[in-house]
């Protein structure tokens, strides 16, 4: 599904990713852990196509397409979803308008008919109920006045609504209390399926208690330096990243 080979990327001309190679197949959940400044968030932004994150070498293919040749909105329409560490507030644009605009823009690009108002409302009611976000909140401007937990629930609603194939979740557990963490983890577990992939970027093992990954990778110095199963996360929690320090 996702194949990253020898990826090098810079931010403001500073090299951050330095030869990262990783493959995520459909049905797999990969956790990427690593110390601060290792390049975890840079990897997420490079994959989503954020301006200012420049790829200098390497390739990324997504379902056979050259991901790096696509604009951010085209990547989304192909099924790539970036869950933000700090979801952005957008005053003046309601969550409902935002999501419906996004959904229809994706459908347009895929050559599918737009979703009707009634279908959309039915779908969003189901998802928001499952993730504990009231319809009243969805009528409010995107993330404005939302707590950290509510923002992450909102991300989970979007993840569910947007026909995602591969979810890249950037420290989706940061700023969450235990209850919110469980809700978000449940959102990820509901999303898991044999057709979908997940790339979980996290600092801590805590989220992995609720979402059991198939693979755990250590990202340090801009490269994957170690790969293992869930037990690797436990060891990292115990021993830290010292042995990976450059």
């Amino acid at each position: 599904m996702l194949k990253i080979e020898n990826l090098h990327a810079t931010v403001a001309e500073k090299p951050i990713l330095q030869g990262l190679t990783l493959a995520v197949n459909a049905g797999e959940v990969h956790a990427i852990m690593g110390p601060n400044g290792a390049g975890k968030s840079t990897l997420a932004y490079v994959l989503a196509g954020r301006e200012g994150y420049d790829v200098t070498e390497g390739s990324v293919s997504f379902d056979g397409d050259d991901l790096l040749a696509l604009a951010p909105h085209e990547r989304a329409a192909k099924g790539l979803f970036l869950g933000f560490q700090y979801p952005v507030e957008i005053p003046g644009v309601s969550n409902l308008l935002f999501l419906r605009t996004a959904l229809n823009a994706q459908k347009k690009l895929r050559g599918q008919p737009e979703v009707s108002g009634a279908e959309f409302m039915k779908a969003i009611r189901t998802e928001s109920e499952a993730l504990g976000l009231s319809m009243d909140m969805l009528k409010r401007p995107v993330n404005v006045g939302f707590s950290g937990g509510e923002k992450k629930r909102n991300e989970a609603v979007q993840l569910a609504m947007l026909g995602t194939k591969l979810a890249i979740l950037d420290e989706t557990d940061s700023g969450l209390d235990i209850d919110a963490l469980k809700v978000v983890a449940e959102g990820i577990n509901r999303f898991r399926s044999p057709e979908r992939g997940v790339l979980l970027i996290t600092h801590y093992q805590r989220l992995l208690d609720h979402v059991r990954p198939d693979f755990v990778h250590v990202l340090a110095g801009g490269r994957i330096v170690e790969t293992g199963g869930p037990e690797l996360a436990l060891r990292l929690e115990r021993d830290g990243y010292e042995r990976h320090a450059a």
């Binding site: 989503a48 604009a71 970036l82 957008i90 005053p91 003046g92």
Partner: protein, 368 residues
């Protein structure tokens, strides 16, 4: 051939520093050419029910039940362009409403052709009367100058909603509304300009009776080489009056958009509650925005809140939308629409609100 030399303000005068009056200088008093051809105007009407009246180059066109005499309020203070309109207008609209009369919605469409045209709208609302007045300025794809004044008096408890739409692509529109409110009267104005040319829009509102309330809002959408300039002065002359001004300016292309927003509170006008919010969004580095709040407060027991910001589109919000599948241009349009929504929100009456919202959205989607 040019007409008489006329005295125009210059940019040395602080109140006119951002106004682009070049067309007025060039055109002067040149009369519009005689032309029996009716311009294409259908697209300029706002698609809502109500009485319609068309003026082309200062002349009334077609049958109208309106009183089309120009009857400016000559007691108002001197003003270079408003005085010129009063002296030169050959027609206008005079709207007198009796006590508690509901005048519904009246649309006045002013079309500029080549040359200068002056017009006057006079509104007198007796106690409890209500009127929605939509004044639209558009043109025939030729340089021209439309100079207009609207003088209004709102009696006790009267309600006037005035929408000024400026859709010209060429020349200059200078328009000035002078409104005085008796106690409990309500005045709401929204100027919505999506012009590619020059605009000078002034509002001078005086609150002369307790509990009078004025809303003076504007949305200036500049593109190309447009120079859109607004100036407001809301005068709180007696105790316990309130006002709200919300201006949202968007500068694209090489346009310049400006607002000088004035509030003045007289020494004895205690318990005044005035708010002002001026914001500009500069979409291209080649465009410019000027914002100037001007507060003169002589009373001490008043609330006067004001805010003033100039910025670009939030890059974080733009990427967030793109990452969810919204193409960049559509994302820009959505964010810009959200930006102007505050100023548009004051018009709550349907179908007027929807019609204006559609227009603003169409402009933004085409330009951003």
């Amino acid at each position: 051939m040019k007409g008489d030399i006329i005295e125009l303000p210059t940019r040395h005068d602080e109140a006119w520093r951002w106004a682009d009056l070049r067309h007025a200088h060039d055109i002067g008093n040149t009369l519009p050419p005689a032309n029996d051809m009716l311009p294409e105007i259908d697209q300029h009407w706002l698609d809502i029910p109500g009485l319609r009246h068309l003026t082309v180059a200062g002349h009334p066109v077609g049958d109208s039940t309106l009183n089309t005499t120009a009857s400016p309020d000559r007691t108002l203070p001197r003003h270079p362009l408003a005085d010129l309109a009063a002296a030169s207008a050959r027609s206008g609209a005079t709207l007198h409403l009796a006590a508690d009369e509901d005048g519904g919605t009246i649309q006045l469409l002013h079309i500029g052709t080549a040359g200068a045209a002056h017009s006057v709208t006079r509104v007198e609302l007796s106690a409890g009367a209500r009127l929605t007045l939509i004044e639209t300025f558009a043109d025939e794809r030729r340089d021209h100058w439309l100079n207009h004044r609207m003088d209004a008096f709102l009696g006790e408890g009267a309600v006037l909603v005035r929408i000024v739409r400026v859709k010209t692509a060429h020349g200059l529109v200078s328009e000035r509304g002078a409104v005085s409110l008796a106690s409990n009267a309500r005045f709401t104005q929204l100027v919505i300009a999506s012009a590619g040319s020059a605009l000078r829009s002034e509002a001078h509102v005086t609150l002369d009776g307790a509990h009078a309330h004025a809303v003076v809002n504007g949305i200036l959408l500049g593109d190309g080489h447009a120079a859109l300039d607004a100036l407001t002065k809301v005068e709180h002359r007696v105790p316990e009056t309130s006002s709200n001004q919300t201006f949202r300016l968007v500068a694209a292309g090489q346009s310049q958009v400006s607002i000088a927003g004035g509030i003045s509170v007289a020494r004895h006008a205690q318990k005044t509650d005035a708010e002002q919010s001026l914001k500009a969004l500069v979409l291209k580095r080649t465009a410019a925005a000027n914002l100037k709040p001007e507060l003169e407060i002589y009373a001490d027991d008043v609330k006067c809140a004001h805010g003033c910001t100039v910025g670009e589109l939030d890059k974080g919000a733009l990427f967030y939308l793109q990452s969810r599948g919204v193409p960049r241009l559509q994302a820009q349009a959505l964010l810009t629409q959200a930006f102007v929504a505050d100023a548009l929100g004051v018009i709550k009456e349907e179908p007027l609100h929807s019609a204006l919202d559609r227009e603003a959205r169409a402009w933004l989607e085409a330009r951003t």
